[in-house]
């Protein structure tokens, strides 16, 4: 049993998953986090997911790759993924890689939940 890398809560039928690690680096760690996120769709079939980045200070391209896979899985299951509370440095990573065009990114959790 791996350590829990995301805190999951239900807010008005929306699943909010918050990262517990400051650094989403290292292949092994990223795979554990990805498996826990994928399970929300593959096992629990959650349709509306908000990913809260408030804790995250670092993130690598390998982590971005897993987020793209997660987004594909959610869409394939006719759901929607939203990202929120991304600090400035990390938001820059999304902008530089132009993944801010692919993901729906919201400034706060409240804004991400609004109208979901």
């Amino acid at each position: 049993m791996s350590t829990r890398k995301i805190d999951v809560e239900e807010v008005n039928a929306v699943t909010v998953a918050k990262f517990t690690d400051k650094k989403i680096l290292d292949e092994t760690n990223i795979q554990i986090i990805a498996n826990q996120l994928f399970s929300l769709i593959d096992d629990d079939h959650r349709k509306k997911i908000v990913l809260d980045f408030a804790t995250v200070e670092y993130l690598s391209s390998a982590a971005l790759g897993k987020l793209i896979t997660l987004d594909k899985k959610v869409k394939a299951d006719k759901g929607e993924l939203r990202l929120c509370t991304i600090r400035k440095d990390i938001l820059e990573v999304f902008k530089i890689t132009k993944l801010d065009k692919l993901f729906k990114i919201f400034e706060t959790r409240e804004k991400a939940l609004a109208g979901f």
Partner: protein, 153 residues
């Protein structure tokens, strides 16, 4: 705290990302001690993560018989980091643009793209198995103001 004297270090690590993480921490601690700005630390950590993973995983293919040689030199104005693996190398020109619409969801090239964006310069040498990363130090705003000549009036 800076001494003005460049500090040069060289280490060799096995093809293991855990060793890569430990080395990353070592280099970052040194830059923190020298009071590099947060934005510089963020960029260097990101580039180190990408470059070390590339060397260990893609270059040496996690082969325990192969090592990664890392040397870095820090002075008052910049940090220069050189990472060399024992792999076959590659041509960075062959890596597709990860920000092109058709490549946006592909896993290729995003790490190199991020390194280029966050470092002052990045250059692949030899057969592509050696990368040199340079980050010029950002001067804090108050320091810059202190150092600028007084306005005449």
């Amino acid at each position: 705290m800076t001494t003005g004297q460049p500090v040069k270090t060289e280490v060799t690590i096995p093809s293991d990302t855990v060793a890569g993480q430990a080395l990353q921490e070592q280099i970052l601690r040194q830059l923190e001690d020298l009071q590099f700005e947060d934005q510089d630390l963020f960029g260097v950590r990101l580039a180190l993560e990408e470059a070390l993973v590339n060397a260990i995983k893609h270059g040496n293919r996690l082969d325990p018989a192969k090592n990664v040689r890392v040397q870095w030199c820090v002075d008052d104005v910049r940090v220069v980091i050189e990472i060399e693996d024992e792999g076959e190398g590659f041509d960075p020109g062959d890596v597709p643009d990860p920000t092109a619409d058709e490549n946006l969801e592909r896993p290729c090239g995003r790490g190199i793209h991020l390194m280029r964006a966050f470092m002052t310069s990045i250059e692949y040498l030899d057969r592509g198995n050696r990368v040199v990363l340079i980050k010029s130090r950002t001067v804090a705003e108050e320091e810059a103001e202190e150092e600028s000549p007084p306005e005449e009036g």
